[in-house]
């Protein structure tokens, strides 16, 4: 195979802080390697519509500190089917691309894998605030989301302790409890409910009651959206023990905002590595952070393994929550 001259680029799935700095890194590394980047808008949807332009360093000036993605993102149903995939490959080849970089989460990588090796080399960059992708210790956006959450919880804590109230705060994370657990540790929450661990609301209610008796009336409970809804937990605590609580659902404020230093540095390293790996001839894999280094992991390995929280972190939350 000859030298790779043109690479397609798209951001897909839910947006995540860190997408813009990684786009910027890809452009700068590509220019260094004399490779042209063809950027597609709105993820795979834009690939099917051939909505693209040649992106240069002028286009990425001043985006490093911005959340979201300047390339826009969307979820695309058509790309799950053979016909859509063929159209996508056709559009890549039409634009002279023999490589593609996909920035996104699990779902986006499945789309990426479906066209990998069919005349197109594909590399993924993990970007999701949920940190649920195997093959990277941290995904782009997770660190920023955690900091957004702890800022809010710190503020709620002031109110909780002034009014002696119980607050139930629901975080994102889909099937993973990572965000809730880590933020619970970082803010000193009294309880954390995550999908990975069975919880017993009766026990939690009893513990809160005991704290009430000791005069500790303000409580923070973090609930991962994959474990339960905050409203459900609030209703149950009221029913079981008559505990009155206030509910906060953080929702999309966890996705926005200027990326943290960690996410920007990771974005630079992953973006640069993605271009270099494609030029080296790698395909069908993802770049990720493993023990401080940037390593590649095949999509097959990514899909067939579940990223675990590990027992020590869960135990740690328990130690601190009591």
């Amino acid at each position: 195979m000859g030298k790779m001259n043109r690479i397609g680029l798209l951001t897909s799935g839910g947006d995540s802080p860190g997408m813009n700095p990684t786009i910027r890194a890809i452009i700068h590394e590509a220019e260094q390697q004399s490779v042209t980047i063809v950027a597609f808008k709105r993820g795979f949807a834009g690939l099917l519509d051939n909505e693209c332009f040649e992106m240069t360093s002028k286009d990425v000036s001043g985006i490093i500190q911005k959340g979201g993605t300047v390339l826009l993102t969307a979820r695309c149903e058509d790309f799950k089917y053979e016909e859509g995939q063929r159209e996508g490959i056709h559009n890549l080849i039409r634009n002279g691309c023999d490589g593609l970089i996909v920035v996104g989460g699990d779902g986006s990588f499945r789309g990426a894998q479906s066209i990998s090796g069919r005349g197109i080399d594909v590399i993924g960059i993990p970007a999701t605030i949920d940190n649920d992708i195997f093959g990277t210790e941290m995904a782009l956006g997770t660190d920023t989301a955690m900091n957004s959450i702890i800022d809010v919880v710190d503020k709620i804590k002031d109110t909780a302790s002034s009014h002696e109230r119980t607050f139930i705060i629901e975080t994102m994370g889909r099937g993973s409890g990572y965000l809730a657990l880590m933020c619970g540790i970082a803010t000193g929450a009294e309880a954390v409910l995550i999908p990975e661990v069975k919880y017993d609301l009766e026990k939690i209610a009893a513990r809160l009651k005991k704290r009430y008796e000791q005069g500790k009336i303000s409580n923070i409970i973090l609930v991962a959206e994959g474990a339960a809804t905050a409203y459900h937990v609030g209703r149950q605590l009221s029913k079981i023990a008559g505990i009155v609580s206030k509910i906060t659902v953080l929702g999309h404020l966890q996705r926005g905002g200027s990326p943290s230093a960690f996410d920007r540095v990771l974005a630079a390293r992953l973006g640069s590595a993605a271009v270099l790996k494609l030029v080296e001839g790698k395909s069908g894999c993802m770049v990720g952070l493993i023990k401080g280094s940037i390593e590649v992991t095949s999509f097959d390995t990514v899909f067939s393994n579940k990223k675990e929280l590990g027992p020590t972190l869960v135990q740690l939350a328990e130690v601190l929550g009591k």
């Binding site: 500190q65 710190d154 540790i185 970082a186 803010t187 230093a261 590990g310 130690v319």
Partner: protein, 347 residues
């Protein structure tokens, strides 16, 4: 086992999170007391203690600094310093000492461990320059503060067509500079690991001003140095010649010289911002709070397992215990690979 806890060296966001974790763990699972030693080794020599109970550690998780206070006192510079420490530990019935600090504090911990004292170390430095651990807490907060400052000076640089030189901390390693520079989108990053000459910095800026933009941001580590054969004199730039108790000089001032040289050679208005101690203060980031908490709990585990003379460390996603001498063996510096990533964005 009664535990003594001291924090030494410069303060660092995350210390309070660590103190809290260690005390919570001790009270809850190990049912033992924790004695807080005030002002680092000074408190151990002069016998200044406080009892650390639940009340003392309530509400400190998000606060910067250390409730135990800190000092740069070097016991080796005090007559019979080490003997006094050992004697005071016995008097205060401290069975095991948890020393939290950078290479100096941990160096003393190592001397004590060699004398048969039960010691566990916890690494602490915003500079991230200790080998053996992927990260130290406080570093992430410092990098975020420096990055925000770079974000802010961008607007001024842009509006006034200026070169802005931002001098950051980091002692003899370039970690804070390289990470905040990458994260802040700096156009040139200068670190101690890569001695530079002013002319090549000017060349990068000139090229940038001819093609892309009329302003530039230069991030320089306080420990960065000019190349030996460069036409600007001097290797390390020192604020003054006074050394602290551990024999360290105070770095700083390279930003001023650099800005002056750039202005002189290129005729572009240049300004310097020296971030200094704002990089150490403030509320710790989520990463630093979690890391400090995990360090605190692991330190308790090491004590329970009787693994003394060790230091807790982060390796990959795991917290492990490593021999103190391993951590002190060498300064962790910025690797060639890491620097290459930064270089992609120069100019």
């Amino acid at each position: 086992m009664r535990r003594g806890l001291l924090t030494g060296g410069g303060d660092c966001p995350g210390l309070n999170a660590l103190i809290r974790a260690l005390v919570r763990r001790a009270i809850k699972d190990d049912r033992c007391e924790v004695i807080g030693i005030l002002e680092g080794w000074l408190g151990m020599i002069e016998g200044k203690y406080i009892a650390l109970d639940r009340l003392k550690i309530a509400g400190i998780l998000h606060r910067g600094g250390t409730i135990l206070k800190t000092s740069r006192t070097n016991p080796l510079k005090i007559e019979n310093g080490i003997e006094k420490i050992i004697e005071n530990m016995r008097k205060a019935r401290i069975d095991v000492l948890v020393a939290v600090g950078g290479e100096d504090t941990l160096g003393i911990a190592k001397i004590l461990a060699d004398r048969g004292i039960k010691v566990v170390g916890v690494p602490k430095t915003i500079d991230n320059d200790l080998s053996g651990t992927d990260y130290t807490f406080g570093f992430d907060t410092a990098v975020n503060i420096a990055m925000e400052a770079i974000d802010r000076v961008h607007t001024t640089a842009e509006s006034h067509n200026r070169v802005l030189v931002v001098e950051v901390m980091g002692r003899h390693s370039g970690w804070i500079a390289i990470e905040s520079g990458i994260a802040g989108g700096a156009d040139v990053i200068l670190i101690p690991e890569k001695p530079f000459d002013v002319e090549s910095v000017c060349r990068i800026i000139r090229r940038r001003h001819e093609t892309v933009n009329d302003f530039s941001i230069v991030v320089v580590a306080e420990g960065a140095k000019f190349m030996v054969d460069s036409d600007v004199d001097g290797s390390f730039i020192l604020q003054d010649l006074e050394k602290d108790d551990f024999g360290h000089v105070r770095l700083g001032g390279i930003g001023n010289i650099l800005a002056r040289e750039i202005e002189k050679r290129m005729g572009i208005e240049s300004r310097v911002v020296i971030l200094g101690h704002i990089q150490r203060g403030g509320t710790p980031t989520a990463f630093d709070r979690v890391l400090a908490t995990r360090f605190g709990v692991e330190a308790a585990e090491l004590i329970n397992r009787g693994e003394f003379g060790k230091m807790v460390a982060l390796q990959g996603n795991k917290i492990v215990g490593i021999p103190l001498e391993e951590a002190l063996a060498q300064t962790k510096t910025v690797s060639e690979d890491f620097y290459k990533v930064a270089e992609v964005f120069f100019g």
